[in-house]
């Protein structure tokens, strides 16, 4: 029964080898999906390309459906996995900072790695910036960030139980919302691109 490594059912070297193969699949999905092209990523905020929304929500909901199916058939215990604790104050503030970083920088860390290694110079600059930001944070952590980072701690919170519904019902609702969003954003994208297309739109492969 999963998760295998936390229960000592596979060795550490095998676990790291699996990490490598999972990463390869993730990297192919990101690159092939268009996430090394910064204009495709930014499009979600301006309406000319919603690829981010489609890839991201399909991935998240595929994973959620799969994981809770495995859990309900007793094939894996979600409680034994890395289950993120919620610290709502730093996550909200940091999320807004990252949202600004997305609009300004046109990547997030994972996509910037893919862009940098495949020759996108803007990706290399972004990765450099991310390291500068991490070092800046790390060297000022105790006076500036430590208290904030540990504020608003709620422990491991499941959003479905917080709302008083089952995991399955919550995933069903989000999936329905995602499908509606796919349809609506497709229409927005067509409208934006027929009325006022961005320059060199053919580079986006829409």
């Amino acid at each position: 029964m999963g998760p295998l490594y936390p229960q000592g059912l596979i060795s550490e070297p095998l676990n790291l080898l699996i990490a490598l193969f999972i990463g390869i699949g993730f990297g192919i999905g990101l690159e092939a999906g268009g996430f090394t092209n910064t204009r495709k990523l930014a499009g979600v905020f301006y309406g000319y390309d919603f690829v981010v929304l489609k890839v991201f929500f399909t991935a998240a909901m595929t994973a959620a459906i799969g994981l809770f199916l495995l859990d309900s058939y007793g094939l894996m215990d979600i409680e034994l996995t890395f289950y993120p604790k919620t610290f709502w104050i730093p996550t909200t503030i940091a999320g807004i900072v990252m949202g600004l970083g997305f609009i300004v920088g046109g990547f997030c860390p994972g996509t910037s790695v893919c862009a940098a290694v495949t020759g996108k110079i803007d990706g290399i600059y972004f990765v450099t910036g991310a390291f500068l930001g991490i070092f800046g944070y790390a060297f000022t952590y105790e006076p500036l960030f430590e208290t904030l980072r540990n504020s608003g701690g709620l422990g491991k919170v499941n959003i479905a139980s917080e709302l008083g519904i089952s995991d399955e019902m919550f995933i069903f609702i989000v999936t329905v919302i995602a499908v509606i969003a796919f349809i609506v954003t497709d229409r927005i994208q067509k409208k934006v691109n027929s009325k006022n297309p961005v320059e060199n739109i053919e580079e986006l492969g829409l």
């Binding site: 998760p3 999972i22 990463g23 390869i24 993730f26 990297g27 192919i28 999905g29 990101l30 690159e31 092939a32 999906g33 090394t36 092209n37 910064t38 204009r39 979600v44 905020f45 690829v51 890839v55 399909t58 991935a59 998240a60 959620a64 495995l70 094939l75 996995t81 890395f82 993120p84 610290f87 996550t91 909200t92 940091a94 999320g95 807004i96 990252m98 949202g99 920088g105 046109g106 860390p109 994972g110 910037s112 790695v113 996108k120 910036g129 991310a130 390291f131 500068l132 930001g133 070092f135 944070y137 790390a138 904030l148 709620l154 959003i159 995933i171 961005v198 320059e199 580079e203 492969g205």
Partner: protein, 173 residues
């Protein structure tokens, strides 16, 4: 003549499905979610631990990752991101997208784009540390297990993006 695939992309739902399967595998085999910034953190910690091990063992940000004596690089997220690099290279080679260039809107200069990319990277560097992860580690991995943190991250990152989009529109449209 060889077919030009450099502007062709995988169907977004198929790409998302593939990433979702990788997420399921990550949780099933390793009990981990997919991550991005976590590997950046480990590399930064390993660098400081090599240059100034005394400081790394004292400072609150670094100490938890170095006190067991093992290299911070010997971690799941670092191997996963090495895989991400290999996967991205494979895919870019297949599509003919391996070339040095600056990705940007044609309306701005390379210089503007590169300064903005550096600044955006700095913001993500700080944000991912304060927020315990980025789009993959905080949001997608959180959403995969119905964690509240993932949905707070989703609302804050995308909400923040739409909030600021108007002011930076000249960078993109």
């Amino acid at each position: 003549m060889k077919e030009d695939r450099s502007n062709k992309y995988m169907n977004p739902y198929l790409a998302g499905f593939l990433i979702g399967l990788m997420m399921i595998a990550a949780y099933y085999f390793s009990g981990e979610g997919l991550g991005g910034s976590g590997a950046f953190k480990k590399v930064a910690i390993a660098t400081v631990n090599t240059v100034a091990p005394g400081y790394a063992h004292e400072a609150a940000y670094f100490a938890p990752s170095v006190e067991n004596g093992k290299s911070p690089l010997n971690s799941w997220l670092v191997f996963e991101v090495i895989g991400v690099i290999m996967g991205a290279l494979l895919s870019a080679a297949y599509f003919g997208r391996l070339s040095m260039k600056v990705g940007k809107s044609p309306k701005i200069t390379n210089r503007t784009r590169l300064i903005a990319a550096l600044a955006g990277g700095i913001l993500w560097g700080v944000g991912s540390q304060l927020g315990r992860g980025c789009t993959s580690g905080l949001i997608m991995s959180g959403m995969a297990v119905n964690a509240l943190s993932g949905y707070i991250g989703l609302a804050a990152v995308f909400g923040g993006g739409y909030l600021f989009a108007y002011f930076f529109r000249k960078l993109w449209i």
